[in-house]
């Protein structure tokens, strides 16, 4: 991984900071977020590792992680973060770097009938707002 000042503190970092309202440089990588995350069992990167990639300016790699789609915005991490970093905001900002240009993580038409039949409206509205 090559680091330069353009990568580390360039336009990508600034854009993400604008979207998320979060300064990931505050994070000192203690890992408390990952320790308390309910979804880590299915993640390829732990939440703090996603933050680390953002700190290094490797935004695309962070956004390519499954982790950002598994974050359920439960705020267990940010509630306990000793540095006041709202990880869910960062995850959301990574998602929208892909969604705003038009990518869809989820195809509503492809949702299984039993999900449409049984899942509460709240799940459908929230999910489609997060994934499309």
């Amino acid at each position: 991984m090559r680091l330069t000042r353009d990568v580390v503190s360039g336009e990508n970092r600034r854009k993400l900071r604008d979207i998320s309202g979060e300064e990931v440089a505050s994070c000192y990588q203690c890992g408390k977020c990952s320790a308390g995350c309910a979804m880590t069992g299915m993640m390829d990167l732990l939440p703090h590792q996603v933050i680390r990639l953002v700190q290094l300016g490797h935004i695309e790699e962070a956004a390519a992680s499954r982790t950002i789609w598994l974050c359920a915005s439960c705020l267990a991490c940010s509630a306990r973060c000793p540095r006041g970093v709202s990880l869910p905001n960062v995850m959301e900002s990574l998602r929208v770097t892909l969604l705003r240009p038009g990518e869809r993580h989820l195809d509503p038409a492809g949702l299984p009938a039993e999900v449409l039949e049984n899942a509460p409206e709240q799940a459908l509205v929230a999910g489609l707002r997060k994934y499309t």
């Binding site: 680091l3 330069t4 000042r5 580390v8 440089a25 680390r52 290094l56």
Partner: protein
């Protein structure tokens, strides 16, 4: 003989291993023992009272305390004995903790047997102990301080302000030490010179401080309260009494020398004053660089000096000072360049150390405070800072942590960002150790507010590739190998003892640790006292430490000196060597054997004599004496033999 034996449990430290009741039972039948008792904590107030009560009830004339090391509590129990009417030199300690229960934790039966034998030996010793009186020695209320960095200056000022004279010896031509080289200081970022110069000028003009710069301690004799110091004042080739510090010689000098103060980043005239605020503000000729000395030709400075102060014939001067206490404040050096080959330190000009960065950043430094790299003067846009260079590296450096590097690296990275706002500082670290008031916040500010990127891992290698220094590192947090093309690399090299520290320790007859840092008497309870009475330590001479800790320790050393000076006379152990002049043949073997200069020959009477106050009671002369004329008080031959009998008999 009526001896009382007091066996301490020391909670579970002794009592958890040694069968104390059995020890008491056995010892109470030993010849000469009037009573044996045990107690959970003998050093506690009730424990001490118990000893006094038993001494009175049993009319004891001697006591044996079986407890911890005499280093811990001998003085306590001696004074307890004395307060109940027993001569304190007839109080012996049997160390059944450090020498018994601790090393034999897994063999309680054997430990119990050994405890009994140690106590029996102590009873045998006390049986032969004479009732002695402490010796009394005078105190010279004058202190020597070796090293005039911030530690030495602080100690000197504190002692001088309290009303005592101080002799302050500094190896360099000027005072201020490394702190004079620093640009700003953490965690407040105040200018180092600004907070230092009030102290240097106060030291320079203080009526009770005798300042000897460009000088070194050659030898020391004597003992606490009464040291005689020989000091060598190296030739400066300038008569400082005449010199006004006008600087004309420096301006005109045609020869150039590498500047030590500027860490070799620039050349300076062969006759020069290290920096503008130097105290004393007087020049020194570097004989290695001066044309007059190297080629025998030049004499420009002599010609231009308006007061005729240049003195090419000046010789080193030797003189003696009498002092009662010594503070060692010799400071530190940095890990040698040659030992960090993988980073090209000493090979690539743009790989520099922390002190060099301080000079680059200093307004009075070679770049007037602009961050420009040494090779071509270019402003570096990507700067890599590497921590733990030589520190925490027992294979290639030193196993210890140099303590200040985390903080000064954060400071460097921040100062760099202040001056090169579009530059990117990277810091490779293993751990960030920022314990101290405002320290953690200072480091967090670097990452959070100033855009310093911390990378957790060591750098493997730095090599030059065209214009750039390629840094191969790792970020263990992301698990990725990292490559940075840097414009400049700054190494936080390990702090090592100042050169000559071990030699000085030998001169002072005190100890250093394996690295050459001066050893303190106790790491927690006597942190500023050396292992030699009357000699104290302050600052990085003892271990790496920052300015606040150094100033604190210097003040503490000064307080110890002042406490010593507060007494009219000092007491000295009377358990020293003595000579039976009837038996002495005046052969002089004892004089050779003595490490403390306490033995001399009276050539007129042809007998050897003992200087009681110099004698440390080590016994070396008594052992060396071929005809038994020298004996060690309270460690006589017969005492030692009966002690051995008590153990092996």
């Amino acid at each position: 003989m009526r001896t009382g034996v007091f066996v301490c449990w020391c909670g579970l430290n002794i009592g958890g291993v040694v069968d104390v009741p059995r020890v008491v039972e056995e010892i109470s039948h030993y010849p000469g023992v009037a009573r044996a008792v045990d107690y959970r904590y003998m050093c506690s107030d009730p424990g001490q009272q118990l000893i006094k009560d038993v001494i009175r009830e049993e009319r004891l004339d001697s006591v044996v305390i079986a407890a911890c090391s005499p280093g811990m509590h001998e003085a306590t129990f001696q004074s307890v004995a004395a307060s109940a009417g027993v001569n304190p030199y007839r109080c012996e300690i049997a160390n059944i903790r450090e020498q018994c229960s601790w090393p034999h934790q897994n063999e309680p039966g054997e430990a119990t047997r050994k405890a009994i034998e140690l106590i029996q030996a102590a009873i045998e010793k006390v049986r032969g102990d004479e009732a002695l009186s402490a010796l009394s020695i005078p105190v010279t209320r004058r202190a020597l301080i070796i090293g005039a960095g911030i530690a030495g200056m602080q100690a000197a000022l504190d002692i001088a302000e309290a009303g005592h004279e101080v002799v302050l010896v500094e190896r360099l031509p000027h005072i201020g030490g490394h702190m004079a080289q620093l640009s700003e200081t953490f965690p407040t970022l105040d200018c180092s010179q600004c907070i230092l110069t009030p102290k240097t000028s106060e030291v320079g003009r203080h009526p009770r401080i005798k300042l000897l710069t460009n000088s070194e301690v050659e030898s020391i004799s004597g003992y606490v309260g009464n040291f005689t110091v020989r000091i060598r004042r190296k030739a400066t080739y300038v008569n400082w009494d005449l010199c006004t510090g006008c600087g004309l010689c420096t301006e005109k000098c045609p020869s150039r020398a590498s500047s030590t103060f500027e860490r070799g980043l620039v050349k300076e005239p062969a006759i020069s004053i290290a920096f503008p605020q130097a105290v004393p503000h007087k020049p020194v000729i570097s004989a290695e660089a001066c044309g007059h000395f190297t080629k025998g030709k030049c004499g420009v400075c002599e010609k231009v000096c308006p007061v005729g102060a240049i003195d090419y014939q000046q010789q080193d001067a030797l003189f003696e000072e009498k002092v009662g206490a010594i503070v060692v404040a010799t400071g530190y050096d940095l890990h040698p360049k040659a030992k960090v080959g993988e980073y090209g330190y000493g090979v690539y000009p743009d790989v520099i150390d922390g002190l060099e960065f301080e000079r680059l950043n200093s307004a009075s430094g070679p770049t007037q405070g602009q961050i420009r790299r040494p090779s071509d003067g270019k402003v570096p846009k990507e700067v890599v800072f590497i921590q733990c260079v030589g520190s925490r590296d027992q294979e290639n450096g030193y196993p210890y942590c140099s303590k200040i590097c985390c903080m000064y690296t954060a400071k460097h990275a921040r100062l760099y960002k202040h001056k090169v706002s579009d530059g990117q500082p990277y810091v490779f670290y293993m751990d960030i150790r920022a314990g101290g008031k405002g320290y953690e916040e200072f480091v967090q500010h670097a990452t959070e507010e100033e855009g310093v990127l911390y990378l957790r891992g060591r750098v493997a290698r730095v090599f030059q590739d065209g214009d750039a220094l390629v840094v191969f590192g790792v970020d263990t947090l992301s698990g990725k190998k990292v490559e940075i093309r840097a414009d400049m690399v700054v190494l936080a090299t390990a702090i090592v003892p100042a050169s000559g520290a071990k030699e000085l320790a030998r001169v002072l007859k005190t100890a250093t640790d394996q690295y050459g840092f001066f050893s303190e008497a106790h790491p927690k309870l006597r942190p500023v006292e050396s292992l030699t009475r009357g000699i104290y330590i302050a600052g990085c001479a003892q271990a790496p430490k920052d300015i606040p800790d150094t100033v604190t320790q210097a003040g503490s050393a000064a307080a110890k000196v002042l406490a010593l000076f507060s007494a009219e006379r000092l007491s000295h152990s009377p358990a020293v060597a003595a000579v039976d002049e009837e038996l002495c043949s005046g052969c002089g073997v004892c004089v050779e054997a003595c490490a403390y200069d306490a033995r001399t020959l009276d050539t007129r009477r042809r007998v050897a004599v003992v200087n009681d106050v110099l004698c440390e009671g080590c016994g070396a002369c008594a052992v060396a004496c071929p005809n038994g004329a020298t004996r060690q008080k309270n460690a006589s031959r017969s005492q030692v033999f009966s002690m051995i009998d008590a153990v092996v008999g």
